[in-house]
Amino acid sequence: MTLFELALKNIRRNMKSYSLYIGSTVFSILIYFTFATLKYSEDISGMAETSKQIKGIMGASAFVLMIFVAIFILYSNSFFMKKRKKEVALYSLLGVRKKSIGFLLFFENMVIGLVSLGIGVVLGFLLSRMLLTILLKLMGLDIVAGFAFSMNALINTCIVFFIIFLFTSLMGHRIIYRFKLIDLFHAEKKGENVPKARVITAVLGVASLAIAYYLALQDLTESQVWRVFGLATPIVIIAFTVLGSYLLFHSVLVYVLSALKGNARWAWKGLHMMTASQLLYRIRGNAKTLTLITILSATTITSGGAVFGVYYNAEKNVREYTPYTFMWEGEKQAIDTSIIESEITFYSKMIRVALDKYEMEYVVIDEATFGKLAKDLGWSDIQKLRQNEVFAIDAFFDERWSEKLDSVTINKVEFPVAKFYDKVLFNVETLGGNAIVVPEQLYDEIKSDETLIQAVKVTNYKNQSAVSDRLAASTENFSSATADYKNTIESLGALLFVGSFLGLVFLVATGSIIFFKMMTEAEEDKAKYAILHKIGVSKKDMNRTIRGQVGVIFTVPLVLGLIHGGVALVAVSNMFMMDFLVPVVIWMLAYTMIYAMYYFATVRSFIKTIRRGYLEG
């Protein structure tokens, strides 16, 4: 039998343990190839021509993704190799030369790599078509996703993964030479020394997180740090975050678990000490995994939060300055009556009002018009004007620098402002943000040209481009929420696209990594739970321990990831000058919910594996 046949046979026989590894490899290739296809796609690059920024974002994301898949594959590969050390030892014991075994492993890994590459590319091609269609729709672009197979993407993917596979294969090859036979036999059994909590590590961890947070919250325009590090600043921040998280897990978690385990009152009750020592026992491996999960969670939360925040704000911004779908000066235009929600026609005048230092031009409307408009916009605090009073409206009012109008002088008579509204009453683009509401009688007395204004609200305003375009061509001083919204979304298109894609990828990846990890632990823990079963631990107690053990692995990185993501989003929202609070909270809740679903799925499979373990054994 040739070595090649042996390698192939090996894979075919151990399909079950291989499938986990192959699965994660295919998944990585699938994700990377999909992104590469989209990156090289003409639809996207056509859009990218409009902005170099977009190209930059896509390039940077591809890089992040590459690092991620590399880590992910290395990670699953090391799990896989650990499981197979015994098999390798057996070959060695039977007298197969190290050289041959090394070659076998190298060969086998390359075969797996190439097969997964094939599957990943095919699946990736299908997925990218689907994703592009969805994403273009999300961006509000009516382009049919009819892009072809991208040769560039294929070449790019092949090169990247060939290097990764070469690396893992070499690693596998190296294992044979580095270890002695006796070690290989005990590979699975070897107990890690129980780690000790060191104060210095904890302090260092907190310090690096503090530095990272401090850097992240610097003002982009003024900060010295940004001047020194330039565009490398984000990398510095990320490096400090990763380091800090790792040290924190390594020290704080060890400390807490040791303290819990040492406390007889807590630990010697049911299986508490079992839960604590299980976690402690694997702390070194766990610290790495937890860090990875934290960073992935933080990335997902940040990218998703930013995208969702921008998306959310896009609509809010439009709404804030363009409350009516369409507004224009002049006569009524024909609009399909079935889509009209409300339609108001009114007159307005312009006056100049002298303020302390300068004069301002104000739109003037009478009280009846105000009533109609405000009621249409659903204002709740509409008051009645008394004789010789006016209302003032300032859509741009900001306490920090705006002046609050107390009174206005019209026709040389001073009128006190009975109520000041800092909300928008009509489309800013058509009439501006400032207005004064006066009684009918006063309105008639103002000598100024009167303008006829049309304000229209329609249903489903985001998708009324045709109507909007027609009206824009035939009217004057036209403003349209439809067009504003479309412009905003399109200009944010690439950001949205990259953000949501990465968010999706990382969400799936984070869940999968924890799942893989916990399943591997379940396999390793089978024997332990079988012992517990034998000495009379009930199913209920065991399930509780499993939930606790899995729960810590899920909760701890989620909490830290949420904090990281929160800080990053504050930084992002400062950069964009947008208020992210509501969308970010919604997004974090959504993330936590999906994450919780992964938790329940993992616990379920974990329990199943353990149960199968002791019922068969």
Binding site: K189, A267, G270, L271, Y281, I531, K534, G536, V537, S538
Partner: protein, 255 residues
């Protein structure tokens, strides 16, 4: 006096229809309180199956097993777990210690599961560790101690909850002769001084010679029963060897 363990016509079948294999057939016997019973027989005779069935780890196909008043052959899984916890102790050939717990924690595990108070637990651990001479090892981890020490740890764990009966499955199988003797002597003295009931499966005649009574099992059936009575351990050892020789065929397997 009512017997502690009563086995009535137990049968264990594997497989279905034509492929049925009977691991145990018509097994009936009793063990009284304070006995030290050995079960011997060639490989594949059904020793371990019998022990697993008695120890509630496996369930018999037919028949009844009473421990005290409880029929464990008819118990539900959750109740069985509690029963194991409260009334049974186990010693296995491969120790079955949890390597992420210290020796102390391994020993006290059954008490922790039974929700005993920490003060009480600490006292009982010290006592039992003294009995087995492992007081100095309590804070070590299983991978730091020798096989004999591991087995004494396992024995301490089996005994700490004062079980009604101890099941030992080839407890000396992986030990050198010195450690094996130490362990067997401790078990024997526990049996004599504290009237602990022990049932041990072994195919080592030397280990078996520490018992008071031996049941031989062959092809899934009980074939013979011998008592030590007033004989010395050495005489009993010779008796066992003779018995095994008579059983024929598989002697190689035994010695």
């Amino acid at each position: 006096m009512e017997s502690l363990l009563l086995v009535k016509d137990v049968e264990k079948k594997y497989g279905k229809d034509a492929n049925t294999f009977k691991a145990l057939e018509h097994i009936s016997f009793e063990i009284d309180h304070g006995e030290f019973v050995g079960i011997m027989g060639p490989s594949g005779a059904g020793k371990s199956t019998l022990l697993n069935v008695l120890a509630t780890i496996d369930t018999p196909t037919t028949g009844d097993i009473y421990i005290g008043k409880d029929n464990i052959a008819k118990m539900k899984e959750e109740k069985l777990a509690d029963f194991r916890r409260d009334h049974l102790g186990f010693i296995f050939q491969d120790y079955n210690l949890l390597d992420s717990l210290t020796v102390r924690e391994n020993i006290l595990l059954p008490l922790a599961i039974a929700k005993i108070k920490p003060e009480e637990i600490a006292k009982r651990v010290d006592e039992i560790a003294g009995t087995f001479g492992i007081s100095d090892l309590l804070n070590k981890y299983p991978y730091q101690i020798s096989g004999g020490q591991k087995q004494r740890t396992a024995a301490s764990r089996a005994l700490i909850s004062n079980p009604k009966i101890i099941f030992a499955d080839e407890p000396t199988g992986a030990l050198d002769s010195k450690s094996a003797t130490d362990l067997l002597e401790s078990m024997s003295s526990l049996n004599e001084k504290h009237e602990t009931t022990i049932m041990m499966v072994t195919h080592d005649a030397y280990a078996a010679s520490f018992c008071r009574r031996i049941l031989f099992i062959k092809d899934g059936r009980l074939s013979k029963e011998i008592f030590r009575g007033s004989k010395t351990r050495k005489e009993f050892f010779q008796m066992i060897l003779d018995e095994l020789a008579q059983m024929g065929g598989d002697v190689n397997d035994v010695i």
